[in-house]
């Protein structure tokens, strides 16, 4: 009895509930509450909501979350990064830009989903609810200052994404993709968790700030534990960004998923996972352990670049091609990570935002070209598109050329920034890696040109194919993507200023 009392007293003293600064996680709250509110309203109402409502709601919620980022951004710029929730959440420019980027991906996803669900005759508030919940997980993951929070965010994000992948109940490939994604994703999560455990064992903390402080003050005599932790965390996060050799799920899942979900998944999840990589490897482990992780990431980057471009050229399915191209893009972002400098972090951020416009726009095209059943994704289905739908063909051509890195599009500048960051950082093998990267860009360009050529230089193959309908919402998404790609390509100033200011910094935990 006495023991219990003392135990209670001790635990009373030990459990020091942190101050909850709700405003610090405002973007996250907006997304999460937006999702839950929609779910509640839909289940309470007897009548069915009009179709436009859910999509509009989601777009508004995302815009609201973006708006919530703005005052936080000002705060961070004025008074420096800060911590919230007892060191669980870090608030810095980097996480805020990623949060805005994730919201952008949700907007793309919602705009595309509206027309898609109508066309496929699917019911749908759940799609939007899951989309917002997944995004809130992504935002959590991007702003995590603690490995456990990072893991929780990753799981919230991923579980929703697994379900979304399999949501098209009448498409067998959607089910298959969902199952594949779930199984392999769970496997990768286990790796990540194991890595976190090993890191905890080596450093005595899961707080990234504490890990950084500990490592800078201590020389570890047996680094095997930490090394294992780094490697396993890299596997877990590498899976999410589709780095080779953890990429095998990507083509199947991207191809099988409902196209609007692919648009969301390929951009938001990749952005959040890269944010986590930058936070863990560059910011927390970068100052002391860079020589441990750099060779591993270097190898990953080379493989990712090569496989992403080489395997793409033999594909005949456009969604698969784009999946491989997204792998190649991940390789480029990894170059920015390898730089291990603030410039490198800015470059990755620039690339991720640019990539959101390019990839979401490209998958928007596949959404509308896929037509009823979401099955027309072969190269032949794009033949002669310029004659049937000149505007759509032009949009796709611009997006593809941007992905290939043609100047005056944002794709060129994003490649430029990462390469500049790498050469500036001057790590061993930087020059070789940059040349390899640009050569893979040429190989990828061959694949993009194959699509452009079939759109412009061919004639429609299947004359009986149903006409391509572009719903207004999808039209907005396409316009947004092209505008982003071209405007940021010609005048990158605003974005490059923002990513330049968005220094990734860990916030020391107040003891």
């Amino acid at each position: 009895m006495v023991a219990l009392t003392t135990l209670l007293a001790a635990s009373d003293a030990a459990i020091d509930t942190p101050d909850i600064d709700w405003s610090a996680i405002a973007p996250n709250l907006v997304l999460m509450l937006g999702g839950i509110l929609l779910l509640t309203v839909v289940s309470l109402l007897k009548t069915r909501l009009p179709r436009w409502f859910c999509a509009t709601w989601t777009v508004l919620v995302s815009l609201g979350a973006m708006a919530a980022v703005v005052p936080l951004w000002r705060r961070v710029q004025d008074s420096g990064p800060e911590t919230a929730m007892g060191g669980a959440v870090g608030l810095d420019g980097y996480s805020l830009v990623i949060a805005a980027n994730v919201c952008l991906a949700v907007i793309f996803g919602a705009l595309l989903l509206k027309g898609y669900l109508e066309r496929e005759q699917l019911e749908g508030p759940e799609w939007y609810v899951l989309l917002m919940l997944s995004a809130s997980g992504a935002v959590t993951m991007a702003s995590a200052d603690d490995l456990i929070v990072l893991f929780v965010g990753l799981e919230i994000m991923s579980v929703a994404a697994y379900v979304l992948t399999a949501m098209h109940s009448r498409r067998i490939s959607s089910q298959e993709a969902g199952m594949k994604y779930f199984l392999l994703g769970a496997f990768a999560s286990a790796f990540l968790l194991y890595g976190i455990a090993l890191t905890y064992g080596a450093t005595g903390s899961t707080s990234l700030a504490k890990i950084q402080t500990y490592l800078s003050g201590t020389v570890i005599s047996h680094s095997g534990l930490l090394l294992g932790g780094i490697a396993f965390m890299l596997v877990g996060l590498g899976f999410k960004i589709a780095a080779v050799p953890f990429h095998f799920w990507t083509p199947d899942v991207y191809q099988g998923s409902p196209s609007p979900i692919t648009a969301y998944m390929s951009t938001a999840i990749k952005a959040a996972a890269f944010a986590a990589i930058v936070r863990v490897f560059v910011v927390a482990l970068g100052p002391t352990q860079v020589n441990e992780w750099r060779p591993m990431v270097y190898g990953l980057a080379v493989l990712t670049l090569l496989v992403g471009s080489l395997f793409a050229i033999s594909q005949t399915n456009v969604k698969r091609m784009l999946a491989y191209s997204s792998i190649n893009h991940a390789g480029f972002v990894l170059i920015g990570v390898l730089a291990n400098t603030p410039e490198g972090n800015s470059a990755t951020l620039f690339y991720l935002v640019a990539y959101t416009f390019m990839a979401a726009g490209s998958f928007a095209v596949t959404t509308v070209v896929g037509r009823t059943g979401d099955g027309r994704h072969s190269l032949d289905d794009y033949r002669g598109l310029s004659k049937v739908r000149p505007g759509l063909a032009l949009v796709f051509a611009v997006l593809l050329l941007s992905q290939a890195g043609v100047p005056l599009t944002v794709g060129f500048l994003s490649k430029f920034y990462v390469i500049q960051a790498a050469l500036d950082s001057d790590f061993a093998g930087a020059g070789v890696l940059c040349v390899i990267a640009m050569l893979t860009a040429v190989i990828s360009a061959f694949m993009y040109l194959k699509i452009v050529a079939s759109m412009y230089f061919g004639d429609p193959v299947d004359a009986d194919a149903p006409a391509i309908r572009i719903p207004a919402s999808a039209g907005i998404a396409l316009a947004l993507a092209v505008a982003g790609v071209v405007v940021l390509g010609v005048l990158p100033g605003p974005l490059s200023d923002v990513v330049g200011d968005a220094t990734a910094q860990l916030v020391a935990v107040i003891p």
């Binding site: 100047p407 430029f416 500036d424 001057d426 040429v442 412009y456 330049g500």
Partner: protein
């Protein structure tokens, strides 16, 4: 504050001519984009008006150019991407001036001469974008801006070949795009490396400004050589230099006539211009180091191109291979690192643009009438089409390098430079002159002489409208052949400054690192006069003399 305002006022009083040269064609393309497809009668007039206006402006610029100055003129300098230090810096000197004017002349001619089949709107819009891009390449003084224009012209050309081309057009278009992009991959890394290293060595903010980088020469010898190799690969694809040339016959042959004209006249010059601007100017010491290799590749290009041209069955392919040979002369002249050689190279750039452009137009006319370019299926057309035959003879003679026409001074000076810079390369290169006469005359004989059969006998001759397009070209061929002096004199200050820059930098580099292997070029300078007099007594001593001796030395060369 007052001083700043004053300088801004001074800058604003001068009309931003170069900006207009670049933006006007873009505006024309945008205008065509806005006109609906149903009003197709507007597309051609808009394209013609815009390109002619741009061309006229470029000629106006020529008249306003200060011929005694080696400095960049008509400069524009505005911030663009501030965090990278990228500036919209444009300017013209004696090296880029004539290439700019050449673009200004060839584009209107190409647009006027050919009416496309199929989609008019996109065709003219792409042609104008191509024109704007070309203007940008020749005037950009910032590496990144140069790269932007260098790459952006791929897109219009890709579509021009792919949509309006012949035969294996998709293959040719893709190959063209990817080859250039392959080179550009190296160039981009080289550029960034150069800027980053410059920043590190000098401590100044990151800049991509060509003039600053060339003046500072801050990069170590080894790094400069690696960067030069990166640039050299990029431009070697574009020129094209021997092992990277395989895209050219395909692209030239399958491109629509106007596309072939622009490819040969303008786009290939991006590469040779790049060697001057990014090789000799930006990395002079490395260029001198690489000169023997480049000279060898140039000579290989001359002989290989000529031999391949002689073997071709397709007339257009023959002209395409002749381009490889001619461009070899430019590489030879440029990397002789002598005033004569570089001047000659620049002359060949301009004259090849005019003559080969005209040849492609003629081949296009023949193809339109006969629907074949196979030499064996043509023949005896002289009787049915005397005017066509006459113009063809004339242009062909210019291409061969007949003294008195424009092909001669350039080739002559390139060879002269080569003899000064590296004798044995010059010796081998001379065979190219003979081979050129061989393959072109032989082709002419097979196409125009002999008995005419079938359609060749009843072929329609060139009409006046078609001939009118050739009048300015023929005028230029004669004028530049008889009076190359003014052009050479205008180039001279810039070329001399460039050669002095190369000389000085490689001297400095040698002083810093005495163990560097000397390029043959350096030794050759000492015995230059000996070499010069050995080959051509009257014209050995200087560029200005070389220019005036253009017609005087004709009999000495005597290959015709």
């Amino acid at each position: 504050m007052g001083a700043v305002l004053a300088s801004e006022a001074a800058a604003s009083t001068s009309f931003p001519l170069l900006a207009v040269l670049i933006l006007l064609p873009f505006a024309g393309a945008a205008l065509i984009g806005l006109v609906p497809r149903s009003r197709s009668e507007f597309f051609r007039p808009i394209a013609i008006l815009t390109s002619v206006a741009t061309g006229a402006l470029s000629v106006y610029l020529l008249t306003q150019f200060d011929r005694d100055s080696a400095a960049y003129q008509f400069t524009i300098d505005h911030a663009w991407i501030s965090d990278l230090g990228v500036r919209l810096h444009f300017g013209v000197d004696g090296i880029s001036l004539f290439l700019l004017v050449l673009s200004g002349i060839m584009f209107p001619i190409a647009i006027l001469a050919v009416k496309p089949h199929g989609d008019q709107k996109a065709y003219y819009a792409w042609m104008l974008v191509l024109m704007a891009g070309s203007m940008g390449v020749f005037t950009a003084l910032d590496m990144l801006v140069f790269f932007v224009f260098f790459e952006i012209v791929l897109v219009p050309m890709y579509f021009l070949i792919g949509i309006w081309g012949y035969g294996e057009r998709v293959y040719a278009a893709t190959k063209f795009f990817l080859f250039t992009m392959f080179g550009s991959a190296f160039m981009l890394v080289g550029m960034i490396a150069l800027a980053v290293l410059h920043q590190r060595e000098t401590g100044s903010p990151l800049t991509f400004d060509i003039v600053t980088l060339a003046t500072d020469q801050a990069v170590s010898t080894t790094a400069a050589r690696w960067i030069f190799v990166a640039f050299a690969i990029a431009f070697a694809v574009k020129v094209p230099v021997f092992p990277l040339h395989t895209w050219l016959p395909d692209a030239h042959t399958q491109a629509p006539t106007a596309g072939s004209v622009i490819l040969a006249a303008i786009l290939l010059k991006f590469g040779t211009y790049g060697y001057l601007r990014f090789g000799l100017y930006l990395l002079p010491d490395a260029a001198a180091w690489a000169a023997p290799v480049m000279l060898t590749l140039g000579v290989i290009g001359i002989t290989y191109g000529a031999i391949c041209a002689a073997m071709q069955k397709d007339l257009k392919r023959l002209v395409a291979y002749s381009s490889i040979a001619h461009l070899g002369f430019i590489v030879l002249g440029t990397f002789s690192l002598t005033v004569q050689g570089i001047t000659g190279g620049l002359l060949v750039m301009v004259n090849h643009g005019i003559a080969t452009g005209a040849l492609f137009l003629l081949v296009g006319i023949i193809y339109d009438r006969r629907h074949t370019r196979i030499i064996a299926e043509l023949g005896g057309m002289q009787k049915a089409a005397p005017l066509l035959a006459g113009v063809f003879t004339f242009v062909m003679m210019a291409s061969v390098g007949l003294p008195g026409l424009n092909g001669f001074p350039g080739e002559f000076l390139s060879l002269l430079g080569a003899f000064k810079g590296g004798r044995w390369w010059g010796v081998v290169a001379v065979t190219g002159v003979i081979l050129a006469a061989l393959y072109l005359l032989w082709a002419y004989q097979r196409v125009f002489h002999g008995p005419a059969s079938g359609g060749n006998a009843t072929m329609r001759d060139m009409d006046l409208k078609e001939f009118a397009v050739f009048v300015p070209l023929i005028g230029l061929i004669v004028f530049l052949g008889l009076f190359p002096g003014p052009m050479i004199e205008t180039m001279e200050p810039s070329v001399k400054a460039l050669v002095a820059h190369v000389q000085e930098s490689s001297d400095n580099a040698r002083a810093d690192q005495p163990d560097i292997e000397k390029a043959d070029v350096d030794n050759a300078e000492a015995s230059a006069s000996e070499h010069g007099s050995g080959t051509e007594g009257s014209a050995g001593s200087g560029a200005s003399e070389g220019s005036s001796s253009g017609s005087g030395a004709t009999s000495g060369e005597g290959h015709g």
